[in-house]
């Protein structure tokens, strides 16, 4: 456990026996089946599974975007949702960074980042801007903070979106394949940047991906999901010391970890491919 994690007391996420059936009275698509995960405070927890397996469904349940059909989710021992209240409240203690990005196109990066603390009335607009500037500086985005999201690259936008989430001091950061559709080089830069941001602002990270190397490079642990209906097949701890940088990618231990994960995930990927699964929302 590193220094960043030790500072952290909050953000333990417990997902207990969660199932989700879409349209139970109609087509009844089972997206999640008895999923259980224990995520310690300050952990980078990678959820890896084939496309369309139901990973996003799990993230949406944690975020409070839709109800679960059964099971419960706890944050630091407090119930977010259970059978009685199947839908968790949306709250700034769980911030989501979306797959295709959701920066407000009509606000500059600075205004996007300072938005949360202002609407929550946690900070005055002036204080919020100052804090936003400090965080944007940390992330190397201060020079483009006056630009609109439409004027910057998707990599920059995703970084800014993580900053916009962090300024709200969430207990958990929920990342839904944020680096999907980026080229490998950009992805590698984004990964190092995320780890740097994490060192500076430690927080529990729940990270959904279908990229094996991404999962091993970033995570303390990798949970491997089965194909739909998704359930947890195996949780593999990644035994690589932090801080990790690009040199890790060519090391022998990294390669062995990737192999281990690949062996576990491969059969699921084959099943998903054979079933020709379409992606679930």
């Amino acid at each position: 456990m590193n220094a960043a994690q030790q500072k952290l007391q909050q953000g333990a996420l417990s997902i207990q026996d969660v199932s989700k059936i879409y349209d139970p009275d109609g087509t009844a698509v089972e997206a999640l089946s008895h999923c259980s995960l224990e995520i310690a405070a300050g952990e980078i927890y990678m959820v890896l599974g084939p496309s369309g397996c139901g990973k996003t469904t799990l993230l949406n349940a944690v975020a409070g975007f839709h109800p679960v059909s059964s099971g419960r989710i706890l944050l630091d021992g407090e119930v977010l949702c259970n059978d009685k209240t199947p839908q968790a409240q949306q709250n700034s203690d769980r911030m989501v960074v979306f797959q295709n990005g959701a920066l407000f196109p009509w606000k500059t990066l600075l205004d996007n980042v300072s938005y949360g603390p202002i609407v929550q009335k946690r900070l005055s607009p002036k204080e919020a801007r100052e804090k936003a500037e400090a965080l944007l500086r940390e992330a190397g985005l201060i020079d483009i903070s006056h630009k609109y999201p439409g004027e910057i690259s998707s990599g920059m936008a995703r970084r800014a979106e993580i900053v916009r989430a962090l300024i709200n001091e969430p207990k958990v950061l929920l990342l839904d394949e944020p680096y999907r559709a980026m080229d490998a080089l950009t992805k590698a830069i984004m990964h190092e940047n995320l780890l740097k941001m994490y060192e500076l602002n430690p927080v529990t990270i729940f990270f959904i991906t279908h990229d094996l190397e991404e999962a091993v490079f970033l995570g303390h642990k990798v949970a491997i999901m089965t194909t739909r209906p998704a359930t947890v097949k195996e949780v593999i701890p990644i035994d690589l010391p932090y801080p990790r940088d690009h040199r890790v990618l060519s090391s022998e231990p990294f390669r062995l970890q990737v192999q281990r994960v690949k062996a576990s995930v491969r059969s699921e990927a084959e099943k998903a491919f054979a079933a020709g699964e379409k992606e679930l929302a």
Binding site: N100, F104, W106, K107, V119, N168
Partner: protein, 266 residues
């Protein structure tokens, strides 16, 4: 020198001028050529039109026509925006109002604005008000339909992001739904503005009988035709084109000012 630099930076301007001049020249050559070959032509040539125009711009009644049409268009358009934007937003965010008002709206919408002219002449106390009413109807539907479509299709990710950050219902509306709908509002405004010019001219031809002053450009065209001056009728037509173009340009300018982020989007 500065003008030269400006034009170099904005090649669209002189290209635009070039295209207009080319059309005028082609028109002139075609008609003059026809006459030269011995075929008579009813169509006036640009040189004659421009010569006549030079006289017309000295007449107060010509500018009065501009003023009349423009003020009618702006009045009808402004009322359409003032009522149409809130109405469209209301239909988008409130299911009950949508169920109540949308069917009525959809039944009235296919009725062409000009079909309202006789009824509105009876219904409204003055001719002026009936014309403005018809103009209002022309743009109202376009504004409402675009605002409704835009506000209903706000990306759910923006709403979820704002809600997670703690936005309440009003903030969600004011800070997310409204700005996200702005581009659609301007689309509706641009379409609506186009319709107002179609409507004002026709309404003036029908409704404004025998008034030289305050008849508007539509009446100017009709009156010139009846008076036998085809050149002047064409001048009226071109004036309407220019008036509509300036109105749309102002709208585009306002759009760029209000949505600096929108031009930068792909």
């Amino acid at each position: 020198m500065t003008l030269k630099i400006y034009l170099r930076k904005h090649p669209g301007i002189w290209r635009g001028v070039l295209s207009v001049l080319t059309i005028l020249l082609g028109w002139e050559c075609y008609i003059q050529g026809k006459i030269w070959l011995g075929y008579p032509s009813q169509v006036p040539v640009p040189s004659a039109i421009l010569a006549r125009w030079a006289d017309v711009i000295m007449e107060g009644s010509y500018w009065m026509s501009w003023y009349s049409s423009y003020s009618r268009v702006l009045a009808g358009f402004a009322i359409a925006m003032l009522l149409g934007i809130p109405f469209g937003l209301l239909l988008a965010v409130n299911r009950t109002s949508r169920a109540l008002f949308f069917p009525v709206f959809e039944i009235l919408r296919p009725i062409p604005p000009l079909a309202w002219v006789p009824a509105s002449l009876i219904f409204w106390p003055t001719q002026e008000m009936s014309i403005i009413f018809v103009i209002f109807l022309g743009s109202f539907y376009a504004v409402v339909i675009n605002v409704l479509g835009g506000a209903k299709n706000v990306d759910i990710r923006y709403l979820r992001a704002a809600q997670s950050m703690g936005a309440n219902q009003w903030q969600l509306f004011r800070r997310v739904i409204f700005p996200a709908t702005l581009p659609s509002i301007f689309t509706g405004a641009a379409v609506g503005m186009g319709i107002t010019w179609e409507v004002v001219v026709a309404a003036e031809m029908i409704a404004v009988g025998g008034r030289v002053y305050g008849g508007g450009l539509g009446f100017f065209v009709w009156n010139s035709f009846v008076g036998g001056s085809i050149e002047q009728a064409v001048i009226g037509m071109l004036s309407i084109g220019i008036a509509g173009y300036t109105a749309s340009s102002l709208l585009r300018y306002a759009g760029r000012r209000l949505m600096p982020w929108h031009t930068s989007q792909a």
